[in-house]
């Protein structure tokens, strides 16, 4: 059978499975096999190379075993029980299963929005209320915002679009860079993502261009239904620089329990990429029921000399987070940075950290990790600093601080250092502290409520990381932290 025939057949089959506009049929039945992978690719009108890429990832995934970790516990996921493709829904379809109005939305969610200071019309969008996007258009004129912003980027030569659009319009870039940082078989979840990824973001900043604005998924809020297997690829050519903000500080309504995203960053000579995340998915209730499992592979490669990649993250949501944004420092004199605040409350489990792989000469990395645990949360930092044989004069500084609120929570630190070059300098500092009674009493004696006092101590603890966030994000992150820790005092 020729490729074309095969494709055609698939397209037909696809109809058999019911890829019509009929809402009931929009989602393919649960289960995962090669046909499903083919269907996803065909449905997205992907070129041949993309399908092959997915298939080889799928075959690899089948040979792999789901990892087990000492510090994260969750019921076994049945991968055959999940559905791997939901066609991008039209507004009508979105509305069909959306709440009628804010009155139908979980009051707890709304309360949280209020505390975060999110304007009413935005709350509706976040909660997925029927027709809310329209309302946003009316208030924000987001269409025109998006347009002016797209024009400005185009003028600079920056490409910022959905991953699907990129596959369609810039296949040469996808071919050249996709999977070059996170290979298909990198880990169980990355392999799964490579086979069935739905959509995501693509950024390309050409040589010498400083991206004229912060790029944010926020602008693409109506593209939020990209599903659980997101794929992001960011490329900064020689001398280019870009700052990318992922996520949104409000908890999003989300029906998917498993999230397995892949993010790849490529920085060529003298290029700089700053990637900031504020993650606040549904963490589950006070009893630990529900919530998102967030297994994500994020990696940046400083491919060029003197390039720099900075990961900044504030992790406040999800029931289970498993995440290690990493940097591969290939270019000489390249720099990797990781600034992280991970906060867990109630029954949240967080296993996060970073890997800094030093390969180039005089490469430098900085790791600042701030873990906050409250309630019965377990928070683990797992970090690897690897200094390769070739990395003469490499340096790393790691600062790993844990803050405990109450005495039923836990903090664990697992720093791994592998130094294969004697000239390397690796420094590690770790502290564990409790919010002290003295601090609480001092602040309360200045008129601050118990919660405000706690938030103040905590945000002070996080300051080094918040300083790395873009201004408006930092303010939101602070508010988010306050909401996340609610109920952890008194």
């Amino acid at each position: 059978m020729t490729e074309t025939q095969e494709l055609e057949q698939l397209v037909q089959r696809e109809y058999k499975y019911g890829f019509t506009t009929d809402i009931e049929q929009e989602i393919i039945p649960p289960g995962l096999d090669e046909d499903v992978v083919r269907m996803i690719s065909a449905k997205k009108h992907e070129p041949e190379f993309m399908l092959e890429w997915r298939l080889s990832a799928f075959r690899h995934w089948q040979t792999m075993k789901e990892p087990e970790w000492a510090h994260v516990h969750y019921p076994k996921i049945d991968y055959q029980a999940l559905s791997y493709y939901a066609a991008p829904k039209s507004q009508e379809e979105l509305d069909a299963d959306a709440p009628e109005s804010l009155d139908d939305v979980d009051p707890k969610l709304l309360e949280t929005y209020e505390k975060l200071g999110i304007p009413l019309h935005e709350r509706a969008v976040l909660a997925g209320v029927k027709g809310a996007n329209v309302a946003v258009d009316a208030v924000f004129d987001s269409v025109s915002v998006t347009t002016t912003f797209k024009e400005k980027l185009a003028e600079a030569g920056v490409i910022f679009c959905s991953f699907s659009e990129a596959v369609e319009n810039h296949p040469e870039l996808i071919k050249k860079y996709l999977g070059t940082v996170v290979p298909q078989g990198d880990n169980y979840f990355a392999a799964l993502n490579s086979a069935v990824f739905s959509d995501g973001s693509f950024v390309y900043v050409p040589k010498g261009v400083k991206c004229p604005m912060e790029l944010s998924t926020y602008f693409r809020i109506n593209a939020k239904n990209t599903g659980q297997f997101e794929r992001t690829l960011i490329i900064a050519e020689e001398g280019a620089s870009v700052s990318y903000l992922e996520g949104c500080t409000a908890p999003q309504r989300d029906e998917n329990q498993l999230h397995a995203a892949v993010v790849e960053l490529v920085a060529l000579d003298d290029a700089e990429i700053k990637y900031s995340t504020v993650q606040n998915w549904y963490p589950g209730d006070e009893e630990g029921k529900g919530g998102i499992y967030n297994f994500v592979t994020k990696r940046g490669e400083c491919r060029g000399d003197r390039s720099k990649i900075t990961w900044t993250q504030v992790e406040a949501g999800s029931a289970i987070t498993w995440k290690y944004p990493s940097c591969v420092l290939k270019g000489d004199d390249s720099v990797g940075e990781f600034y992280s605040v991970a906060v867990g409350n109630n029954y949240q489990q967080i296993d996060s950290g970073t890997k800094m792989i030093h390969l180039g000469k005089r490469t430098r990395s900085t790791i600042v990790s701030k873990g906050i645990s409250a309630g019965r949360a377990e928070n683990a930092y797992r970090g690897l600093v690897h200094i390769g044989k070739t990395a003469t004069g490499a340096r790393n500084f790691t600062q790993c601080d844990s803050l405990l609120i109450g005495d039923r929570c836990g903090a664990h630190t697992f720093p791994y250092i592998e130094a294969k070059n004697a000239s390397a300098q690796v420094e590690h500092e770790a502290t564990t502290s409790k919010v002290s009674d003295d601090q609480m009493f001092y602040l309360r004696s200045r008129g601050l409520s118990e919660e405000d006092a706690m938030n103040m101590v905590v945000s002070g603890f996080c300051k080094d990381v918040f300083n790395e966030l873009p201004m408006e994000f930092a303010v939101e992150a602070q508010a988010l932290l306050a909401v996340s820790l609610e109920g952890s005092v008194g």
Binding site: D438, Q439, Y442, R444, G447, G460, K463
Partner: protein
């Protein structure tokens, strides 16, 4: 009505009685000095007045400005106009001094039904106070007490007091650890607070502060009780004779 009225106050920490029946009345407009040997319960009294957790009042009553103080949370006492100047101000790394000042002021304004202070007015006011305390603006942007020298911490306490304008200031050894110039600056700050509508309690070991801030009353606290009260001459006597004679007299 007295600003502060303490009656037969007994308090314990971890089941150990530290305050054993204190009576003290402070009227608006008065400055009281509390002196007494180390470990006699001066700081404990301050913390009990501040409402610190773990300091259990077992007997007695305290009224403050018409409120039953013992029914109030620490922060309620603060916004009602009580300010505790700490003997050992704690460090809060990463929280800018200026941020705490603003939050504290706004907490008080909120309790009074006022809007948040606008940043411009606030900055102007704070800068003036900082200058009056002979402090550098840079202090505003450092972490609260973080890495401050002993004397700097004490100045910072007075700075907070001047901004918050409490009805009752309880200053626990604010003069300890100050150099001669700083003592003067701090004393001037306290004297500026002095007024018809305010009460001040100074906990101190030394006459030198009282030379600058003349108290209306001096009390000697010993083993959890006020064993003697008098006017400022009592402090002179202590300075000249030490505690021995007065303790004997009292017993």
């Amino acid at each position: 009505m007295a600003l502060l009225e303490i009656k037969n106050l007994h308090a314990e920490i971890d089941g150990k009685e530290i305050l054993k029946g204190i009576d003290l009345t402070v009227n608006a407009g008065e400055v009281h000095a509390i002196m007494g040997p180390n470990g006699s319960g001066k700081s404990t009294l301050c913390h009990v007045l501040g409402g610190r957790d773990g300091y259990e009042v077992t007997q007695g009553s305290i009224t403050f400005d018409g409120h039953d103080l013992l029914e109030m949370e620490t922060e309620e006492r603060a916004v009602a106009g009580m300010l505790l100047g700490f003997q050992h101000p704690v460090e809060i790394p990463g929280v800018k001094n200026i941020y705490l000042l603003k939050e504290a002021l706004n907490a008080k304004r909120e309790a009074q039904g006022l809007d948040e202070i606008d940043t411009f007015t606030f900055m102007k006011q704070v800068r003036e106070l900082v200058a009056s305390m002979d402090m550098d603006d840079a202090f505003l942007h450092r972490g609260v007490n973080a890495g401050f020298s002993g004397g700097e911490k004490k100045r910072n306490e007075i700075l907070q007091m001047l901004l918050l304008e409490p009805k009752l200031a309880l200053l626990d050894e604010t003069d300890s650890g100050l150099d001669i110039d700083a003592l003067k600056v701090v004393s001037e700050g306290i004297n500026r607070m002095r007024g018809e509508e305010r009460g001040i309690i100074l906990v101190t070991h030394y006459q030198r502060l009282l030379n600058y801030v003349e108290p209306d009353f001096v009390h000697v606290l010993y083993k959890g009780k006020i064993i003697k009260s008098g006017d400022k001459t009592l402090a002179h006597r202590l300075e000249a004779e030490g505690y021995q004679e007065i303790l004997e007299e009292a017993s």
